[in-house]
Amino acid sequence: MSANAPRSLAPWMAVPIVLSIGVGPASAVPVFSRKYQTSCMTCHAVFPKLNPFGEAFRLNGYRLPAQTEDQIKEKPVSLGADAYKRLWPKMVYPSDLPGGAPFALNMKMAMLYASSLGDTGKQIVHNDFQLPQEVNLFTAGTLGERFGFFGEVTFSERPDGGSDVELEHAQLHIDSPFGPENLVHFRIGKFAPNLYDGFQEMWIMTDNGIDTLFNYNPIGFAGGTGLSDGGGGVGLPARVRGIEMYGVAKHRLFYTVGVDNTIGPGGPNGTFGNNSKKDVYARADWKFGGMGLDGDTSGAPLTAENWREKSLRVGLLAYTGDGTAIDFDVMDPAGAPFKMQDVRYSRVGGFASWYFKDLNVFGVLLHGSDRLQLLDKENLSLIGETKRDFNAWFAQADYVIRPPFQASLRYEHLRVGDRSVPSIKALNANFTFLARANIKAMLEYHRDLRDSQIYTLATVLRFAL
């Protein structure tokens, strides 16, 4: 076995670990079903994946395109008559509260059959009933004409019987405070950045998120070797603490820019650094054909089936930051400990999503670079600096066989920063049965294509209420 062998095995073993204990994606938010007295299927192809109308609803600040008063069936509680607008600033500007309790629950059960490799290379098989695996408590809604909110707390049970609580989202929206409707929105708090619109776990139909994008750990003695298993960094932070501006122009142009805390070692509530620097990100998309990104339907032939359209959306995205003074623990091949800082990281990539009738193919190509400083563990003196690059991409095809029966196939590829380590290649196949609009069962198979003994087969039951 070569000196690199232990490092090479680490990412292989990490895959099933991440899959077996990782908290799955967020899901549908029935708060809005109650508010508008409408089915989940109005906005979701299969929850949590949004259809074009649901995407417009989300980008409009959780408001229906061209919303009218009679569409809101759950009447809001007034915090001030409209006439108080004229009295501002002598009086408090009027607003309102959701008419009902703006809470919703998702529950998830999973039966997980996982195969992995132990330290000696021997296959380990584990069959686990994660019943339940997690419960998500949501709150969401609008506060008058210009504000909205979204929050999610996830309670998850670990296979060993322990439990975790994660605050996944807590955000306040400011919707179209000036300019044309939907051109400028702001979000502040903790959220999944719109940088990942369409491919972050809360917007895809599969149970597994795209680990090669969001769980890649670029920190390592000779560069990143694989997926993060706690304590490492990540290629992209799935959720950020920050401030974001986003909007839609000319019905077809989507943009977002944001500033957020730096990436740091993973913890129970995310991967946040504690230096005083800030990361920045940006993305711009254009959508050809189909419904406008703000719900505009002029000039676009609409199908009777709301999950279908013929469209192509393409975009460019970028993320960069400075991780100076954020220390990660690393070891050299001999096991000697060091500290490492990712003093400059940048990610650039492209996104594409193509809808053709019942098929939606989408993917991301991402290039990342990290300037890594190796430091003495005790006195943090600089030992050396290297620049490491990685390339990650995935392509996913979702197909609506019939609305209750949907399938998905995804291929992921990650060329890690440490070139001595083989690329990660993974396949994820999903079959979803939507028993009811708010109850779904999934059979999902995830396979590490480098070794036939590393895979998971999950049966997942998820429902929203």
Binding site: E69, K75, L79, G80
Partner: protein, 194 residues
Amino acid sequence: MKHAFVAAILLTVPLETALAGDLHGKVTSKGMADNANAVVYVAAVPGKSFPIPTASAQIDQRNMKFQPHVLPVLVGTTVEFLNSDTVSHNVFTPDACAGKFNLGTWAPGSSKKPHTFTKECAATLLCLIHPEMEAFVVVVPTPYFAATTADGAYKIAGVPDGSYTVKVWHPKLKTIQKAVTVNGPTEVDLELSK
């Protein structure tokens, strides 16, 4: 004798309706939860003025709401504000056309507070204690007015035959106007939008 009485009625009714019909119909308020609270009124009757009403109108405050929500009145009408609630209330308006009055705050069951509306106006009424409360006094120039019910229906009785401009006001929608010829019972449907 009985037949003569019926004949007299049959002769009288058409004669009266030809001289002063009623204007009726429905108002559709697009995008609103219902079609209530629109005020339909005849904007002017040429060559005719109308005496100031001697009777007062009333707006009550009950269950933390102004009742009615919309009150159309003729110019010069005095509106009495009551408090039939279990809590104190206030009434004020920020509208200059109604004199930006503030009637103060008074306890449940206290005496009525009057205000006379002397100009055409759509006056917003508010309560300083309960900012969510809102009502409107719509002061119009002729006594030919009506507020719509939830289904949008309205009926203005006694409108003299003739050609008029009919206006429709709504708390949240654009005011519209329409030329209407009244000739006996006349049906006019109208539509409001943002």
